[in-house]
Symmetry: C2
DNA sequence: TGATGTGAACATCTTCACAGCG
DNA sequence: CGCTGTGAAGATGTTCACATCA
């Protein structure tokens, strides 16, 4: 993943935590929370890595970027480590979020971000459909697209979610940016153009399915070409395709 | 992105297209389709890269993994390139998909994968909520969780989507795998354990938001520490935070 | 002793820069 | 000439293996 333009230099000046590590911290946080609730007080990197589905060396290197929060010969105190990760990813902070597009996806997001006890707080649900405007979803009233700038200004939202059709995405994006939003999560299947200093993450359901389909196809081809050859791997699960 | 366990060897035996490239092919495909519809017959790597939001060298290297489909001094024929990419990612093929969990998210996915003219065809919508079972969504009848194995067998589905609460995810996953599903798209915020040969991709809305929040926080800290120092970058967009 | 933290090797991905061809 | 295709350099990420220390 390329560093978002115009952000790299700032990051490097402070701690410089690798992007790949940042992407995994939320997982560690979730698993540690679950362990804490289970009454577990201490974990080794091997145990934690197992549950998180990563290599233990990778886990230790990730954590080492935050500081030396473990005890050699023992492991990590769950509660302490959890606190440190939470602080690092700004878990406790209040993040006002605006969601544009209240279709099924926007609805799902509203429910998700609204209920989760993370720092995210939905301060705006925005749609252009007059049938939706005025309705209350997840405790928030849907407002008209025309009020986008007002809503953002009211709550100083800096995170925006685009869950509109692709055709509207760039226009909405431009308005979000113009209103001061500097972090955008884009669910529309379109490439967004933004000025420097704005961070865009894309989640594309179609792309994800196509990547799976590609691998599936590769496996099918692999099976076909080696149908007559000797059995290489004990791939029981692959048998089902035929 | 780590190669899915047990798949690498098969892939390597055929063409060996890098994971990073595979992840971008759907984007190229989408943009090329749009260009074709606009009547554009030919593009240079620079033009195409610009629209796709990637570096032109990266684009050329990506395409070179598929073959030499360009013309030096000219560029790429849109239609021909589109065909080659489509073939590579199995676009025309029929991919039966089963979606488990028909909440807002499952609904959104059903609408998305059902309407898109990609090769994906929803053959099963499954939920445990008796109020939902029997309803028709995106032209498909919702069936009970108990029928999961039947539905998969009926249509030989090899791709499964998990859009259930986290608490149900692993159990559903196990049943999908036992029924012959070898590709899983997981929207539940939980780490899935699968046998070798099964490919899992995770999409976690909470994680995505937290990554954005992290960068946002970093920028804020960066601004704070250099409030008194000389202006380094022409970061106009960053001014909005204060 | 036993698990962390980390240098070094390895693997993957990106970008540069230019040879080579239409 | 202009653009593709690609070797080589650089950047980032992962894994190994072990020094280090509670």
């Amino acid at each position: 993943m390329p560093s978002p333009a115009g952000v790299t230099d700032l990051r490097k000046s402070t701690h410089a935590i690798p992007d790949a590590t940042v992407a995994r911290l939320p997982i560690y946080h979730r698993v540690l929370t679950s362990l804490l609730e289970s009454g577990v007080e201490s974990v080794s990197s091997h145990e934690l890595a197992e549950v998180c589905g990563v290599n233990s060396a990778k886990l230790r290197k990730d954590l080492s970027h935050l500081g030396s929060y473990g005890t050699r010969g023992v492991g990590y105190r769950v509660e302490y480590l959890l606190f440190q990760i939470a602080r690092e990813i700004g878990y406790a902070q209040d993040w006002p979020v605006v969601i544009v597009g209240v279709g099924n996806l926007g609805n799902a997001l509203a429910g998700y971000a609204g209920s989760a006890d993370r720092g995210f707080r939905i301060v705006g649900l925005i749609d252009s459909d007059s049938d939706l405007v005025g309705q209350t979803i997840a405790g928030v009233e849907v407002r008209d697209l025309a009020e986008l700038e007002t809503v953002i200004a009211e709550h100083s939202a800096s995170i925006g979610v685009i869950a509109t059709p692709a055709s509207a995405a760039q226009a909405v994006c431009d308005r979000l940016v113009a209103s001061g939003v500097t972090s955008i999560l884009n669910f529309a299947p379109s490439v967004l153009t933004v000025p420097q200093g704005v961070d865009v993450r894309k989640v594309d359901l179609g792309t994800e399915l196509q990547i799976l389909a590609f691998h599936q196809q590769q496996r099918a081809e692999g099976l076909r070409t080696r149908k007559t050859s000797k059995r290489t791997s004990p791939s029981t699960a692959l048998e089902n395709i035929s």
